[in-house]
Symmetry: C2
Subunit: 320 residues, 2 copies
């Protein structure tokens, strides 16, 4: 089944970049990043102009010890005027913890693949969605927005193809529960321009008016090509991770989330308004790289801005 | 000055991928790759279904010792039926050597930036183009096609912005000399979707009927996003390098050319006809990686094809 395409994002429009490195990136690092270092990276990211950030996750500290300091991080960071502070929450308990920290939005997660959801949270998709009823009620009562995360939205490492209609059905259910937007997670890096197009069009047909955010991993190198596909479909919200932090549990050695500074470079050079200063973003990425202590996969962190100029006294090499 | 856009490449169309790793990649490796190893990689690439390849370069062996075995490589490789065998040539002497080896096409190079051309070949752009008159005459007489390479077509590390009209002027001159196509080289990784669009439109306006090939480097992470921009402008010819071999002399640590197997993955998954089998392409990339002896920047070589399936007995991790 195919659906109608939407008009592309107009020239010069504002694009929201939601920084997810402090959650999706920090959580898979093998060592615990000290709380004050996390706060330093987050504040540098805000200083670069980012105004949406998934700061942490209120999961069990036993399950994800790297983010056991969620409360302390949220208490310690700058919160620029107009910033949207979000946190991932798996359940009602996480929602209550997040609310107590004064977040602006929570990000829930259910997988679009039945097998993946059972593996991830040990329950069927519909049971996960049923659990979110109480979460959404509480959040709306407290004036906290809900973003409904849909993992494996572009494919599942166990089931393979995930039908766009299945993604749209979950999106509609989230809308009915009061979510303002859904976030389509490319959990194991299977998104392609074709699957992005199909998922976005199916959601627009099933749940008109629902916001759509796209969360790509660069596992197979096509993360920014998928952003191009999203822009062509009119999507204005993209998650990205400083330095390209993050990873995919099924592709050892492959890169993680699309890289924030590479995305900023692409969008700024395409004339969109991101509000992010690339030089300051590179500074933040270098700080993250220094703290984490390994080379991050981002490219602009190595190559610098486009119009970086070189002294013609340098030697050029055979062209290509 | 803006020009009209062309229609996008239609669904299912054939896209030519020209493999340039054996030239653009091998030439910057610090050690000489033995001739028989070069031939093994090239033959694996043909076996994967590639049918256009820039096999070597007929430059001075003193300038580029890594490709001093150009004749031996061309004599030793398989030449599948219908394959287009090309070589880079800097001048008439190189053209004569290439012709003696029975190539199907030669690829010349002039920079679109005056400063870069002087640095690269120690002469003004117009002198370089003048020199190509004799080259083109000889090649056409021998029935060998000429592809006019235009380096720094999307920006220059010394001059910064390169006007699309300058690229179009050189393209027109190449067309007048008898070239069938131009190849726009993203020499130092400055191409963006906007500059791709501008250059392609300017050439189409100035030199209608001239073929256009796009040669991107992934120096700033947006190489495949630029391919998306090229496809949207109707361009059906892209250079790429096995494993992402190659580099940029002005961005230490950044990646080189866009990676062939990542490009094949993107195009095959988008429904285009590349003629390349991804699994066989990954096999060729792994061979290149083993021979070269370092991890190559390509992603699909690490993550495998999209529908690679995992045993649900494996542990999933927190979604994202």
């Amino acid at each position: 089944m195919t659906h109608a395409a939407s008009p592309p994002v107009p020239d010069g429009a504002h694009i929201t970049i939601c920084e997810v490195g402090p959650r999706d990136g920090f959580q898979i690092e093998s060592t615990f990043i000290p709380t004050d270092k996390k706060i330093a990276i987050i504040n540098a990211l805000f200083a670069a102009g980012l105004r949406a950030m998934q700061v942490t996750s209120f999961v069990s500290p036993r399950a994800v010890p790297q983010l056991a300091d969620a409360e302390a991080v949220l208490a310690g960071i700058d919160r620029p005027k107009g910033a949207l502070i979000t946190a991932l929450i798996p359940n009602l308990k996480g929602a209550e913890r997040a609310a107590a920290c004064g977040v602006d939005a929570v990000h829930t997660v259910v997988s679009a693949s039945e097998t993946h959801n059972r593996k991830n949270v040990n329950r069927p998709i519909d049971a996960s969605l049923k659990d979110f009823e109480a979460v959404c009620d509480l959040m709306l009562q407290k004036g906290i927005m809900v973003e409904g995360g849909i993992a494996t939205a572009f494919g599942c490492p166990f089931e393979g193809v995930v039908p766009p209609e299945q993604v749209a059905r979950i999106a509609k259910r989230y809308q009915d529960l009061g979510a303002t937007a859904v976030g389509l997670g490319d959990t194991t890096g299977m998104a392609t321009p074709a699957t992005v197009r199909a998922a976005v069009q199916a959601i627009r047909a099933e749940a008109p008016g629902l916001g759509i955010g796209l969360h790509f991993h660069n596992t197979r190198g096509v993360g920014l090509a998928c952003v191009m596909a999203g822009l062509a479909e009119g999507v204005t919200h993209y998650d990205a991770s400083v330095g390209g932090l993050g990873g995919c549990p099924f592709a050892a050695g492959a890169t993680g989330n699309i890289c924030t500074e590479d995305l900023v470079y692409l969008l700024n050079e395409s004339g969109y308004d991101t509000g992010v200063d690339l030089d300051a973003m590179i500074t933040a990425a270098k700080l993250a790289q220094d703290i984490i202590g390994r080379e991050l996969p981002g490219q602009v962190i190595k190559s610098g801005p486009r119009l970086r100029r070189y002294d013609p006294g340098l030697t050029a090499t055979a062209a290509g």
